[in-house]
Each structure stands twice: as C-alpha cells, then as structure tokens.
C-alpha cells in the first residue's frame, strides 16, 4: 500500500481532488493543496493553549447573575450544576456537567495526547487514536449548551419583573474556550497518525 504523498500526489482537503502538483491551488475548487497540513501541530497547540486559558475564567467567573430584591447572586457553571441537584433535576444537572466539564476536559486531554503521541513517535494503536479524534470532532460542539442556556435565560427573564438574569463575564470566556478547542481539533491532520504507523513498519522491516 502506498500513500498519495509517496506517489507525489496531494488530495485537496476541501473537494478531494487529487493533484500531481502539491502546493498548487486545486484546479476544481481553488483551495490550496498540501500533502500534509502545514504546521498542523503548531496550530493545534496554539489553539489548545488559547482554549485552556479561556476555560479557566470560564469556570471561575460567574456565567450568570440573578438579580432580585434579595440582591445579586452570581453563579458559576459548577454552582449551576449544584443548584440543579438541590432542586432535584438530576438529568439536567448531568447534561450540564457532562457538556461543560467532562467533555471540554477530556477534549483537552485527548488532543494533547494525540499531539504528543505524534511528536514523540509513540507506537500506539492507530485505530484507537483515530477513533479518539473522531469522538472529539463529533462531541466537541455540544459544550456550547451552557452558553445557550445562559443566553435563553437572560433573554427570557428580564429587567422589569421581580427577578432578572444577566449573563456574566464567564460565559464569554467559556464560549471562546469551546471555539478555540474546536479550532484546535480541526487543525489536527489525522494523516499524521497514520504516517507514524508507516515509519514504524519501516523501522521493523529494517530490523529484520
């Protein structure tokens, strides 16, 4: 089995057309063609760091402030989950907890693990890594749920009534964190996982 790169070809990442002049603009769709995404891991790490940095204020700062006659009560993501548990809405608490805590944190870990495994040339199972990447791509967007919850609450419960809900600064940071993490995952070129498997095979062939 050969790869397109070994055959001197590049697949346009946008329309799938093969070209025999890598680096040229795709004749069909006009996108720039590459055998591999240039500086893929550099972009992955840049967006990853931005994502992690934004995630911290996203969790520490309040995502919404409830104003009532009793005064202002800010609440963070975790605070919101705990309130839901107190009210007995366990399912909703689980949805928010998974979407806002479990998914982003496991995304950070998986992306870092994939990037490191390539940088250090670890001989890990390619299929497993590929599956992990696909899971990250598929589930990552759903972290936005809490942002939309706050947006809907703020729009619905407004000034004038006895109580009003305002979005907090944390929700901006959290939304940016989700966007950066999505960009980080998108920057990752999955072909790198399989390139490593080829160099591993070659290594074994040399040894024998």
């Amino acid at each position: 089995m050969t790869t397109a790169r070994e055959a001197g070809l590049a697949r346009c990442s946008s329309c799938g057309t093969l070209t025999n002049r890598p680096g040229e603009k795709c004749a069909v769709c006009g996108a720039k063609t590459h055998t591999r995404r240039p500086n893929s891991l550099l972009h992955v790490w840049a967006f990853w760091i931005a994502g992690v940095l934004a995630y911290i204020p996203g969790n520490v700062m309040p995502i919404m402030v409830t104003q009532s006659v009793a005064g202002d009560s800010p609440s963070t993501i975790i605070g919101g989950v705990i309130t839901l548990i107190h009210h007995g809405s366990f399912e909703i608490a689980a949805v928010i907890f998974i979407a806002s805590i479990v998914v982003p944190v496991s995304k950070f870990i998986i992306i870092a693990w994939l990037a490191l495994s390539i940088q250090h040339g670890r001989a890990l199972n390619e299929h497993r890594r590929h599956l992990a990447y696909e899971a990250v791509e598929l589930i990552g967007r759903w972290s936005m749920i809490d942002v939309f919850v706050v947006a809907a609450l703020a729009a619905l419960i407004q000034v004038g009534a006895l109580m009003s809900i305002l979005p907090g600064a944390g929700v901006n940071a959290f939304a940016m964190s989700v966007i950066f993490t999505m960009l980080s995952a998108m920057s990752f070129d999955t072909r790198l996982i399989w390139d490593a498997s080829i160099s591993k095979q070659e290594l074994q062939n040399d040894e024998h």
Binding site: V28, L156, W194
Partner: protein, 227 residues
C-alpha cells in the same frame, strides 16, 4: 494600478483545458483516503453503495441517489421553516401578571443591549447567520447542478464554504440549551412555547435529513465535470 488588475485577473484565471483533462484523468483512476492518505484505485459503486478505506476504515466514497434533487428539496423546506423559526414568537413567559414574549432575534438583541456584544455575536452567528448561509449555499449549488448550468467556479466556492460552515451551525445545540433553561425557570414562571419553537425543532430535523442527502463525492464529481 495595472499591476493590481493583472494580479486579480491572474488569480481568477481558471486552469487550462489540458490541465483540467490531466486532473480528470488522474481522478478517474485514483483516489486518496481523507483521513490516512492511503492511495486506492477509484472503485465504481453501485447506487447507495459505500467504499471504506482498507487501512483506517473511514468512508471514502459514497454514491447517494438524486443527491442534487433531494438537497434542493430539503433546502427549500429548511428555508420556509427558518422563516417561521425567526419571525414568530419563540416562547412566552408569564409570572405574577407580567408576561414576556420573545423571538430568537429578540434574544440576540437583549444580549447585545446588555453589553454582552461578544456573546450576542456568537449566538447570532451560530444560530441565525451560519445556518441561513449554509441553506442558501446548498440551495444554490443543488439548484444549478440540478438544472445543469455551467457556472463551475461559484459552485465550487459555495460548496466549499457550505462544508466549512457545517460544524459552526449550532441550531440543534441551541434547542437543547433552551430546553434546559425551560427546566431551570419552570418553577419560577409559566412558560408557553410559540410557533417558532416548533418551527426550529422541525428545521433541525429537516436540516439533518438535508445534510445526509448531500453526497459530497457525487456533487464534486458533477462540479468537476461541468468545469
């Protein structure tokens, strides 16, 4: 001035006929896996058949039937539902004599007015703008392929953009967010769902069907043939 115009025209010049033939020849016989770059002979698929990469098991080729026609049908339906989803009231809240009715656009406007401009922009883009743009682009591509018009360059650009927008259309996530927020305020106030709520719910379902009707391989193949 001359230099600028030359550069623009140079950029817009499409590849020569000979080059297009060369590319076409190459792509008739070979294809590469998008996920692992393995090079395979291009299989000929029966209707509704799929080809998977032998190395990484990613689906590399599909052959959906009447892709352009079905895409057009779903996109027209989406456009109608989109109009319903943004123009009618989304939900109404009643609490101790006070009532508050909002549409999706109101929701975004309230965020912008409460000095949450960034959040308002993010919501406007992900819920309103990107889905609309994607519907229109796919409608344009589907419609002109369906009518066999030869405007290859705009097709290619639109289809590329429509695919890029796919992960950034989050209407379905917004709906889940709304449902969660309903549970949160359910005890504080009476909530009534408006026609826009059901419009958007239907829009999400139709857009999902629309996305699965799009056969990227067939459409790119058609675009390639037209150009």
């Amino acid at each position: 001035m001359k230099g600028i115009t030359e550069r623009i025209f140079h950029r817009q010049r499409s590849p020569s006929k000979a080059r297009m033939r060369e590319i076409d020849q190459l792509n008739r016989s070979l294809m590469a896996c998008p996920a692992c770059d393995a090079l395979w002979e291009r299989p000929t698929l029966a209707p509704k058949e799929q080809a998977k990469c032998k190395r990484c098991h990613t689906t590399i080729l599909t052959n959906k039937q009447q892709s352009a026609e079905r895409t057009v049908a779903f996109m027209i339906a989406s456009l109608v539902l989109y109009a319903v989803a943004i123009s009618f009231p989304f939900m109404r809240m009643e609490r101790s004599g006070l009532s508050n009715e909002i549409s999706v656009i109101d929701a975004v406007a309230i965020l912008a007015n409460n000095s949450m401009v960034l959040l308002a922009f993010i919501c406007a883009g992900l819920i309103l703008l990107f889905p609309l743009l994607r519907i229109l682009l796919l409608l344009f591509v589907g419609l002109s392929l369906f009518r066999k018009q030869s405007t290859a360059r705009p097709h290619a650009l639109s289809f590329r953009l429509a695919h890029m927008l796919e992960p950034w259309t989050m209407a379905e996530i917004f709906m889940i967010g709304v449902i969660v927020s309903l549970v949160k305020v359910g005890k504080l106030a009476d909530i009534y769902l408006g026609p826009a709520f059901w419009g958007m719910a239907a829009l999400i379902v139709i857009m999902a069907f629309g996305a699965s009707a799009v056969c990227r391989d067939t459409i790119w193949h058609d675009i390639r043939r037209v150009s």
